[in-house]
């Protein structure tokens, strides 16, 4: 693969806090290696800003290996940048050319208020999980791992849904800021397995109610979420959640 270095113009969203109006700042970075990750490029920028006595750009990151879902950046009009099935930390600078201008914004959603610069508050997702994204387990002796037979297809589908890292790219990419893909992945991974059975109906009703309360928009099936999801979560999960919701919502007697 071709190795090269590049000079870039960055237009980055700067915002002091959630009440600040915010705006774009333009920065120049030089001699960026094509081998660097996008976050390493930001590290270079921040070193540069700190040396010059300026305020560095605040951004979220944790594992830097594509599994934590923290690195929320809207790069050149796409969640996590131009590559598909990818997080920002795994986006390499070879995706860009010398002289490019790169526009970086935080996730835009009423339910994800900006904390500072590129960092957004995604605790709305935590509250949705608290509303029903769990199973009840009795204490006592550890049960044998394979005591409950599970259909291979169901196990595979549950694993596929469980790959969701809760990054919020679905909300960020959706024209309606809908959280349906995230919630449906969490509902699906538990609804597909026998362990999720006891709370199956209350789970979907409570999680959807919490999702609506948080101020996310309504799904209109554009499937932008699936296209931009770094983990390739399928919209078939949304169909499953709709089924779960219909069944639970229409069968309650209270």
């Amino acid at each position: 693969m071709e190795h090269y270095s590049m000079n870039l113009t960055l237009k980055v969203w700067k915002q002091k806090n959630s009440r600040d109006k915010g705006g774009f700042e333009t920065y120049q970075v030089k001699d960026i290696s094509s081998e660097m990750s996008f976050l390493e490029m930001f590290d270079v920028l921040n070193e540069q800003l700190i040396t010059a006595g300026k305020d560095p750009v605040a951004f979220d990151h944790d594992c830097r290996e594509g599994i934590c879902g923290m690195c929320s950046m809207y790069i050149n009009g796409k969640a996590h940048g131009p590559w598909s099935n990818n997080t920002t930390c795994q986006l390499h600078m070879r995706a860009f050319r010398d002289g490019d201008t790169v526009v970086v914004e935080p996730w835009r959603s009423k339910a994800f208020p900006v904390i500072k610069d590129l960092m957004v508050d995604r605790t709305a997702f935590d509250r949705i999980i608290q509303a029903g994204g769990y199973i009840s387990v009795n204490t006592g002796n550890a049960v044998d791992a394979n005591a409950i037979p599970i259909d291979k297809k169901d196990a595979d589908d549950a694993f596929m849904a469980a790959a969701c890292i809760g990054c919020g790219a679905c909300v960020a990419s959706c024209k309606n800021s809908s959280a349906m893909l995230f919630v449906s992945a969490k509902v699906s991974q538990l609804a597909l397995l026998p362990q999720g059975g006891p709370e199956r109906e209350s789970r979907v009703l409570n999680m959807v109610a919490q999702m609506d309360k948080e101020g996310f928009g309504n799904c209109t099936n554009t499937y932008a979420c699936e296209a931009e999801c770094p983990k390739g979560i399928s919209v078939s999960n949304i169909a499953r959640m709709n089924r779960e919701y219909l069944t639970a919502g229409l069968s309650t007697e209270e």
Binding site: G77, E105, S136, S173, E199, V208, C219, N242
Partner: protein, 261 residues
């Protein structure tokens, strides 16, 4: 509840602990939830799709080239039959529900992102018509108002010529009672009115894009997303979105160009 022994009591608590939050869902909660609103859109949308089939079939009878006799016969049936008239009330209710809910959804979804992206490359992740259902729906609504003014209002509230007055067709089936000559009305509206023809064609083009997303989207909303069924639904949706608007578009064009006699 009296428990015979403590073991039963313990067992009861073990089971009931699983249902920490009891289920509670009223009709209002169901239909005002984000999924309930989708279901309303999908159900009313599918009803309107069924309406299009009937509307398109009846109107296509002008192509029999019998000076609108067959068409007028069935148009009279649709306008006078009690059951169809009751269905018409349902049609209006579902139209209003679909429109009001659609506008409410558009407004709510707009508010869910108060600050827009400075740069948004949406064309790489979704189809433009799936993102433009509100706009396409509004264009259809504008067309619908004009369309009702042209045909529905005069047919319901007068101002339309009876066939006997025109002395062009006679309908024996209705005891020689004068019936509304909707075919003559079509001639009146479309012949020599190029702009009206263009507006109608643009109206059905909006409808075609609206259907292209709406048809398959309704099934996803009802939870039907399946390796074997979804490709069939998508194909049927594409076929429907092309055929029905095409037949509709041919009506004003055919009258304008004198293809039907």
């Amino acid at each position: 509840m009296i428990f015979k022994d403590s073991l039963t009591l313990l067992a009861y608590f073990c089971i009931s602990n699983f249902n920490a939050q009891f289920l509670n869902m009223t009709w209002k909660q169901f239909f005002t939830s984000s999924i309930g609103k989708k279901i309303t859109m999908g159900l009313t949308g599918l009803f309107l799709i069924c309406f299009l089939v009937v509307h398109c079939s009846v109107n296509a009878m002008i192509f029999f080239n019998d000076n609108g006799e067959t068409f007028n016969h069935w148009a009279h049936f649709m306008g006078s039959n009690l059951i169809i008239r009751i269905m018409e009330i349902g049609l209006f209710v579902f139209f209003v529900l679909h429109i009001v809910q659609g506008l409410a959804l558009w407004s709510q979804n707009h508010k869910a992102r108060p600050i827009k992206y400075a740069m948004n490359d949406a064309k790489t992740n979704s189809k433009w018509y799936s993102r433009s259902m509100g706009l396409l729906g509004t264009l259809i609504l504008i067309f619908l108002v004009l369309h009702l003014y042209h045909f529905w209002t005069p047919s319901r509230f007068g101002g339309m010529m009876g066939v006997h007055e025109l002395q062009e067709t006679t309908l024996q089936d209705y005891n020689n009672q004068p019936v509304h000559n909707l075919y003559a009305e079509m001639q009146l509206v479309f012949r020599d009115n190029l702009w009206v023809v263009i507006v109608y064609v643009l109206g059905v083009i909006s409808l075609a894009w609206h259907l292209l997303h709406g048809f398959q989207s309704a099934f996803q909303t009802f939870g039907i997303n399946h390796k074997r069924y979804t490709p069939i639904i998508r194909c049927a949706g594409i076929a429907f979105s092309i055929i029905v608007p095409l037949v509709f578009a041919l009506m004003p064009i055919a009258i304008y160009l004198d293809w039907v006699k």
